[in-house]
Symmetry: C2
Subunit: 329 residues, 2 copies
């Protein structure tokens, strides 16, 4: 009884931030990857250290698909498919549309053969013509219903536990955490705050066109099929420049398409101390193992000294819902 | 002596925020304009009030030229002129270029006659081909040298004192203050923090193209002549959507070209409580008096219930450097 009271009493003095600081990144295995991240963050946030970077320049940018959450199946394409399905009854003409049918049949081969133009057309069909509010409502509805086919959890639950910890850790050290995705900014903004703690204004993504027009006596923003910026590869630094007005000192992407190489190079060329993290999907058992056709991301990592994350060896846990299982490892 | 000690002692308890709150907007005359601003801000920031708006939705957007600082002469055009002058020795071919000569001769008529295309060409000549760092350096150099022709002070000194107070007041109440200018975002970002306390990432403006390319073995962003977004009129809401991901509850523009009507309408159509402020330049003595050809801004203000600011009657002081003189008024 005295013990319990003492515990309650002294419990008041357990200061959460200090506790949190003493164990950052708990889902990362001890080892050089975790050490190098923490070492960098400590250096740039310690006043008086030669590598100190002022808070307003502590910009960290993260790719989304394959970096912050599972990229198979591609979430935004699942939304395209769900939307086409939903819109089909009002568009009898789509019965003759080979591309629409290919989406509905999950026929990826069609798009691999017919290139990006057909895919862009499917994106336009499902991402334009409606107001911002209507679009967001539809995306929200999709996320409330969609389950990951392998894990049978909500898609937003496939955010990687170690990355959620990294985002929190960086923010606790005065970093701004930004998403820099090849996907649509408007699409990701619907779930960025609740999933990652990242506000809409810190989501950089592909930018669709808008028209400000009068509908039913009210001025509203309507999405157009135009594409102002495809925020991928060499255009990721462009998206970052447009929205942040700055240059990241910390950038994180993943191996698959080479889509993040330019973003990591941008951070690498920052005149401030900087850090690059490249996620390698090598955990066949707990996630999916895949590489990159030309191996360009891993080669750039070797050449430029980026830190490579082995999901298999560096992460104790992959997904929040696997947390308990992983404690047994 | 005892009094002095008491004063020093009790002085410790004078809490600055409370003091600041008791006298917001000191350069605004008492009256309905100032009252309505303060009344709105109090309503949306008082927890439990039916008009309360959570902090992350307290977005305030401000036009720059003619709203935050003096717009005659147009600052960015002065930069174009200064740049052409500086670049001239390396471009002998410009001697035959009528538009370049018109800029150098301050011949506005030429551009009024030959439309926006020629002006866009002059902007491209002076705003592209260089890296981001080179551009920023040149803009910084311009601002260090440029004096306002009428007031003979640095251009950044022509920021309006009452608006500087309004920006500070809103920020003290948990608002995010954003610039939404028709000018180039990259141009205004160079001076936004020091002049207005607005960080680069909260500057929305016209967006020029960029190319991420290798120069001298280093990957850098190079400005291209492309124009991704002209952030004016109906495209101001587009720029706001792209960068904030939200909708302002407070928007402020000025009478001259109708360039801010759409931005104020966007705020007016926010489902949250909202406020619109329209600056009218009617002070011939202390600034410059001018209206708008078709009077559209003032008519929209009447129709939609925007608050109109009379610089003559609502502002005790116009510029910081006139502060002392105005105390005598």
């Amino acid at each position: 009884m005295i013990d319990r009271l003492a515990c309650l009493f002294f419990g008041v003095f357990v200061v959460t931030p200090a506790f949190a600081q003493s164990t950052p990144l708990p889902s990362w295995h001890d080892g050089p990857t975790r050490d190098n991240i923490i070492n960098f963050v400590e250096r740039v946030t310690t006043p008086g250290h030669p590598d100190f970077v002022p808070e307003n320049e502590r910009i960290a940018t993260f790719d989304n698909d394959g970096t912050l959450w599972c990229e198979f199946p591609v979430v935004q394409l699942a939304f395209v498919s769900a939307s086409l399905q939903q819109m089909l009854p009002n568009h009898p003409e789509w019965k003759e549309d080979v591309a629409v049918q290919a989406v509905l049949d999950n026929n990826l081969d069609y798009f691999l053969k017919n290139g990006e133009q057909e895919l862009a057309r499917m994106l336009a069909l499902t991402h334009s013509g409606m107001t911002r509010e209507e679009f967001r409502e539809r995306v929200g509805e999709f996320f409330r219903a969609a389950k990951h086919p392998k894990y049978n959890v909500a898609v937003t639950q496939t955010a990687y536990q170690p990355m959620l910890e990294l985002l929190n850790y960086l923010r606790s050290k005065g970093f701004q955490t930004w998403i820099c995705t090849g996907g649509g900014a408007e699409f990701v903004r619907v779930i960025s705050e609740n999933t990652y703690g990242i506000p809409a204004q810190q989501v950089i993504g592909s930018i669709g066109g808008w028209k400000f027009e009068n509908r039913d006596g009210k001025s509203v923003l309507v999405k157009t099929p135009e594409l102002l910026l495809k925020n991928d590869k060499e255009d990721k630094p462009v998206g970052i420049a447009i929205q942040t007005g700055g240059t990241p000192i910390f950038a994180c992407g993943n191996v698959r398409s080479g889509g993040d190489i330019a973003m990591l190079e941008m951070a690498r060329n920052n005149s401030r101390p900087n850090f690059q993290l490249l996620i390698h999907h090598d955990d066949e058992e707990r996630e999916i193992a895949y590489g990159e056709k030309d191996n360009a991301s891993l080669e750039a990592a070797k050449e430029q000294g980026w830190q490579v994350v082995s999901m298999k060896n560096d992460w104790k846990t992959i997904f929040p819902f696997q947390k308990e299982a992983s404690n047994d490892r």
